[in-house]
Symmetry: C5
Subunit: 354 residues, 5 copies
């Protein structure tokens, strides 16, 4: 992460505002552009070889152009020119440390958000996705190939659901909805992790690593939180939007996405609170362990130190110690010691230390 941050700051310091400079850490990504163009009745799917091909789609159909590879800054600038995007929008598209945001312009709406999913190594991936919603098109920009949109592609191809019959605002909704749906699986994994920690701590497993792992989990939750919480405001502003790009009947769907986001957010906050509870439990477990250790020490010491003292007494070399002469002294002493021993055990039993 350190590396990436350095890059990002290199970008930010002293650049002309509106400079389109890629800030991510995948500079060798190859450019991959796919386009869908559809109306209710027909649909075209193309993998494009160069950017200019994007611009040939006829008027009247809905076009979705999905650009992968933010390192190809020149291609993105060409698209920006064609669709007349503001320079700051282009800057935001390639600045992958962007916070989820919405910017409304006269002819289009720009939305940036984070796509979260677990990759094949079970590591959380947080990839920035930007959307530009125009009257009859949606542009989507991703850092690399691999996304959560397969079901959207499927629906367009097979005319499932209502996506082919509605406008670009509905397409955008479907894309965002796919991303938000994946948030649920991400927080499910987080929830499972918390439960694992709990059972580990309950089972008395307390090493330093756990506190490290908890700290890491806390940070992961903070990251998810940071990706998701600002998005609520973004969706809320889409709902409140007075732009004609978002039609009134689509608003209902965005409200549904908003409800989902609220639900995810609440879960995240509950997880945060549970993690604080975990640390508390961890602390009490440590304290209880120490208590147990102390009890063993105290019991051993309290039983044997007095007995050793007694033995020490009769190890003294005074010439005149009457007991030493007496024949049964030794056995009587053993008896006394056993009684003392049992008395001690009883005492500790009563104190519930045993």
């Amino acid at each position: 992460m350190g590396k990436k941050r350095k890059l990002s700051s290199k970008k930010l310091l002293g650049q002309v505002p509106g400079s389109v400079i890629y800030t991510g850490n995948k500079p060798d990504q190859k450019l991959f552009i796919e386009a869908f163009d559809y109306t209710k009745d027909k649909y075209i799917e193309k993998e494009l070889i160069n950017v200019e091909e994007c611009f040939n789609f006829e008027y009247g159909s809905i076009t979705w152009i999905n650009i992968n590879g933010l390192n190809h800054v020149d291609a993105i600038e060409k698209i920006g020119d064609h669709y007349e995007l503001h320079p700051l929008v282009l800057e935001d598209i390639v600045n992958v440390s962007q916070r989820p945001k919405i910017d409304e312009y006269d002819d289009y709406i720009f939305i940036a958000l984070k796509m979260l999913y677990y990759d094949t190594n079970d590591k959380m991936v947080s990839e920035q996705v930007s959307f530009v919603l125009g009257k009859d098109y949606v542009l989507s920009f991703q850092e690399a190939e691999g996304d959560v949109f397969d079901n959207v592609r499927d629906r367009i191809r097979n005319n499932k659901g209502r996506v082919r019959t509605l406008q670009s605002d509905y397409l955008l909704y479907v894309l965002i909805d796919s991303i938000v749906d994946h948030y649920f699986s991400v927080i499910e994994v987080l929830g499972d992790k918390i439960e694992d920690f709990e059972s580990e701590i309950f089972s008395g497993n307390i090493n330093d690593d756990i506190s490290k792992d908890i700290q890491n989990l806390k940070r992961e939750i903070l990251r998810v939180r940071r990706a998701i919480f600002p998005l609520r405001e973004v969706i809320n502003r889409i709902e409140k939007n007075e732009n004609t790009l978002i039609q009134k009947k689509t608003i209902t769907y965005y409200r549904d996405v908003y409800d989902h986001l609220i639900q995810v957010s609440e879960n995240i906050d509950i997880y945060r609170e549970m993690i604080w509870g975990l640390m508390d439990m961890y602390m009490t477990t440590i304290s209880n362990k120490m208590n147990e250790v102390m009890k063993v020490l105290t019991i051993m010491a309290s039983i044997f130190i007095p007995l050793t003292f007694i033995a020490g007494i009769y190890g003294m070399n005074f010439e005149y110690i009457p007991e030493l002469k007496y024949k049964y002294s030794y056995f009587i002493l053993w008896g006394v010691m056993v009684v003392l021993f049992l008395g001690m055990l009883y005492y500790f039993k009563k104190k519930k230390w045993l």
Copy 2:
């Protein structure tokens, strides 16, 4: 719970929006539909065999149709068709991990909330209930049979209270009021549990299980909180509603429900704070116990280690130790030791360690 979550995410990922897919964990529930149709003067109660029967009630009367068994998705879709419900409403009805919400449409209002009660095994049940309020009907959807509406049925049957004389908005109020009333009994049980923990901790009972139980209780309170808090907003929006479905004179009743919710919420927040206090007390109790253990150890060691040292002195085999020869040495030594012993006891007494 893990199982259920998996199901819910399976549903959410990659489905067409508006797909009506049951997300609960009771797939074998049988369908059970009951209907009440009443005016001020007459009333009919029916257990329906199939969904279509619901649609025969005459105009002018108030109809309450209570559908149990969200797994019967086809039946719910038929009802949706008949009452012209939005697809997202149907999706929400069968998605049992729904957050309490209200959606206002032109001809009806959709409300989802959580019914909380303790079952016969003293386990908290959180079941989703959805309502659709129309001009002269209320639809209610439950995951399974068994609810908190018996007193409502009783009032309709026996014409108790004002329910038969008023409209569907009052019926909805009565149903929601029943659910909110049960929240009080749920938080009473939570309050009792907290008091139990308190007296257990006060009585010095501190094992690892308590911290586990407290953590579980904390989670239970979080669950209740999550069920209840969003409902305040829902009821508030009913109050502020400009829809003619909710009449002005019924608003007073909803305000009363709102007051109850605020009261429940405040109690929950107080319980949360008290649970934090419990953990604190638990920690101090552990520390006090350890203090006590340490004191026993210190007292035993401080008394007997010096005495043992003295005994050790006279166990040495030097040829010339004058005391050894003296006849009363042994008894004098005993005297010295007893004095030391008593001195120590006095010292610890003064320090209030004994």
Copy 3:
């Protein structure tokens, strides 16, 4: 408290809304009604035998009817009928676990709040008081006799202050003001308790009971908080009121009450913060004590264990230990031991453990 809660839930579950059912725990309270009727020039004070007598007061004078004994539900219903109160108002009057609230109706305003005072056993009493303010009357409802209104009675009787010259809204203000004034004495007692705990903890008195007492005090503060905080909103709504029942010139007085409530609330929040500080101090005191115990143990063990080891050396029975034969060995050894002993003392002194 457990008992009372059970009663309250018995009431709440499954009752027709608007049912007037007493939820308190004083079912044997006798009914006691007193009435004041006054104008600027004359005044009548009566203890009433039955409810109907309340209704005879002439038009043009201000009437204050004070009803004690909420268990006499029938009497309250009669009053409700006469003054045309909404059924929910009557329900709220006799539901003593009510949260402070205000309900505005066309002809009257309903206010419920908590009267707090310390009884003769120095136990905090929290009694619900409800007011109904009409054009020329104030009704007050209390659970039992005994209240904080004696000075108000006195002012009416002796025409002190402005109460006789002004309207019913001023009378209501005077009554609420009396209640709020007593909040100050209640929080004074709480403040004194906190100071007592502080000096106890400072004086090193740390037993389990203190943490229990602090927990109890915390709960008491939570109760007071719950009684007082919602009242701010109530008074605020009186101030903002557009109802003609509250005259513009009286608003200044209500604003004064509001200021007092803010002041009380701030004190309560400061007390809460101080209590958290107390727990912290308690924890550090425990830790310091344990530190002290550990030091004693460490000092005793560190001094005498090595000395005992030396004594043990010369208690060995080897045939050839040269030192044993030497005449002054014993005395030299004592010297060595004393030096060791003093060295240890010096070391611990330097470490500031002594």
Copy 4:
């Protein structure tokens, strides 16, 4: 403080609203009234012998009357009569436990706030100051002589700054500004105290007194906070004021005071957070100390207990112990013991306990 609180509650309970009763603890303060009357060209300064003299100032000049000695209730009532102040204003002036507040009347504005400064004994003084701003006068009321207004007097006398050229609203600003300026010196002292505590804790000085002192400092900060935070709202309301008493061009100055208050408030909140950090550091320091104590104990015990055991072995009196007869046994044993000793030291060194 206990005493004062008792007095204040005695006042509050059961008094007619608007009663002018002094609640402070300086009943023997002598009355001291000073008056400034000035225009741009001339100025008069007078020490007044009786209240009535205040009323002789001519129309057209600005008059500042500064009354010291709130115990002289009759004098204050006379002034109230002359300037036609509302009874509640007079009550607030002499109630020294007032919260900072502003009350706007038709002809004047009443402001109460706290003057904070350190007296000659380095003890924080919190004295209530009330202002009444009229068209051409400012009244100020203080509990006792001694204030922070010397530079204001100086400016009036010597016609420094703009005070003589502007109206009474600017005079009020100058007075409030003097008070707010002193808040900065008060929080500077608080900041210094926190730094002192930090260096004390860093230097390892941990006794019970520190936790007591920190608790006291926390309380002092709470007091300052309570004095300053509500004042922001007061100044804000002056800014927003629509009363003609505050002229538009003076608003800029009040905004400046407001900015200062925000700055002071932020500092206070930072101090609060730093104090919480102090307690944390204190706790870790205690724990570290205990760790150190435990290490000494463990090292001493772990080294000498095994050695003592070995010595004990050869102190046994068995008739047949072969080693006892061997001539070099004693020296070999010493060798073994030294090796053990060094091994232990090495082990503890490696564990970094030494």
Copy 5:
């Protein structure tokens, strides 16, 4: 820091409002003024010898005058006279402990903020920068030479970006943007420090210094927070501004700065939370260490104290102890001791203490 604070308070107490008094701690800074004057087509850069030269720039071009050396109060007052700045603005410019703020006047806007960067010694510098934005000029005031504006100078000189083609409001944006960009590098350093602490604590390195360093880092974050958070409000007010000084098309750029500030703020809050987590981890690490120490002690004591007791038994001098006579007693005893020893080891192994 103590020194500086004293100076600042000396200034604040008792000064006439609007007095232009330098409150910083660099009284020997030499005055350095640079000016840029440019239109789209031409540009002049000058280092000015005296203040009056600033005033010669022709109408129609954009002028940026950058004044370094706030101690030269007279120069600043001359500039204030020329540009007709309000006395309070001048006071704020030279009061370096100013909070970030914006003041809008009719003809100009005053903005004060903090420039943060790490100097060559890796110490964070927080320097106050003030801007005055007029119709065709921007004045900037810095305490000392050395700033973050080099790229702005470069852009003006070489006509890079849009700065030369746009108005003074865009120039102000570019300057503020440079400052905000540097905030990112500052919080990157803070993030790195937190990671360093984490790995240090994870590696078990726990000395008192760490808690001191964490406390210092916490304070540094508080400082950054205090510099950055109020700036959000400032930029927000620029966005909302109705003044014609900020043109509509420039607003987009300020919104971009606002987004950056939100991002920085979120990072700061995440760092704060992570630091709290660090303290927790530190505490658990200490506790774990103590646990380990206690275990060593307990193992050593529990093993050797009983063995020593056994040796003590046979060191007693009773005349009749049968075992002493038996030839193999000694060896049997060794066997018993070894068995005991191994049993203990096994026991502690099973308890996972070894």
